[in-house]
Amino acid sequence: MEQIIDILLLLLVVAMAIAMARLTNLIAIAILGGVYSLVLASIYVLLDAVDVAFTEAAVGAGITLTLMLAAISLSARRERLRRRPVRNAIAVAACSVVAAGMIYASLEMPHFGDPDAPIHTHVAPRYIEASPEEIGVPNMVTSILASYRGYDTLGETTVIFTAGIAVLALLWRWRRDGR
C-alpha cells in the first residue's frame, strides 16, 4: 500500500515539475513551487525522513516562496516565451546524457528499501546502535547532525551566513540604516 502511495506521489511530483517548466506566469510558478515542496515533503515522510520533510515544508512552502514572491514583485510577472530550437536540441541532448547515466547506474543499484544495501551495513549501524548511549539523544538525525558530523553543520551555518552577508552586501542601501 505504502508503495502504491509512493508511486502516485512520485508521479504527481514529476507532473508538477513539468507544469512548472511549462508555465509562464511567474507568480503561478512560485505558488505551484510551494505545493510541489509540500508533496515532496509527504514523500519524505513516507520514506521515514521526518526531519527532512519538516525542513522541506518549512523552506519550500515558507521561506523560498516568500522570497520568490518578494523578488517577483520587484520585476516582471510573466516570462517571455521564445522559440530556441538550437538551444532546445542541446538541452535535450544534455538531459538525455544525464538520464542515460542515471538509468544505467540504477540498473546495478541496490534495490529500493533493501536492508542489506551497503549504506545500511557500513558506517550507519554504528550511528543507530551506539548513538543513544554515546550522545544520549533519541533523535539520531540530531546526533549525527550536531555531533558525529557536527563539522558539516558548522559549514552549513557558514553557508547561510554567507548568503545573508552576500544579500546585504549586494542590496542593502547603507544611508538609511544609522551610522
Partner: protein, 140 residues
C-alpha cells in the same frame, strides 16, 4: 495590508504563538523532528508575517540591521565558539564530550544544545534580514 483590522488583530495574536512554536521546535529537536534550522526558519516566518501586515518600516524599527547583524554573526560565532571551547577543554575541535569533565554524554548534550541554538539564531536572523532587504527595495 495595514488597513485590514481583522488581519492586524489576528496577526498580533498569532505572532507570539509562531515564535513560541519556533522555540518549541528548537528545544524539542533532540527528541522529535526539528532542530536549529527549522526553528530559525519558523522564527523568521513570525517576523516576516509581522512585516507583511504592519509594514516593513515598523519591522525595521523593531529589528534594525545592526541587531540583525549581531544575530547573523553571533549564531555562527556561538557554534564556532563551542568548538574552540572544546579545544581549550583538551579535546579536538567540536568534541563536546570534553565539555563536561565528569560525564561525556552530558557534555554531548550541552554541546548539541548550544550549537543548535547557534544555528537557530543565525538562520532566523539571516532569513529576516534577507526578507527585509527585499521588501525594503520594494517599498521605495
Amino acid at each position: 495590508m495595514n488597513e485590514h483590522l481583522i488581519v492586524r488583530v489576528v496577526t498580533k495574536m498569532l505572532v507570539p504563538f509562531v515564535l513560541l512554536f519556533a522555540i518549541y521546535v528548537q528545544m524539542h529537536g533532540d527528541f522529535g523532528p526539528g532542530g536549529g534550522f527549522q526553528a530559525g526558519v519558523i522564527f523568521a516566518t513570525g517576523f516576516i508575517v509581522y512585516g507583511l501586515v504592519f509594514g516593513i518600516e515598523r519591522l525595521i524599527k523593531a529589528l534594525p540591521l545592526r541587531i540583525l547583524l549581531f544575530g547573523i554573526s553571533g549564531g555562527l560565532l556561538l557554534y564556532a565558539g563551542v568548538g574552540i571551547a572544546s579545544l581549550f577543554a583538551g579535546g579536538t575541535y567540536l568534541d563536546y564530550g570534553v565539555l563536561d569533565s565528569h560525564d561525556p554524554v552530558h557534555g554531548q548534550h550541552l554541546g548539541i544544545l548550544l550549537v543548535e541554538l547557534g544555528v537557530g539564531i543565525t538562520v532566523a536572523s539571516v532569513m529576516t534580514a534577507i526578507f527585509i532587504t527585499f521588501a525594503e527595495r520594494w517599498h521605495r
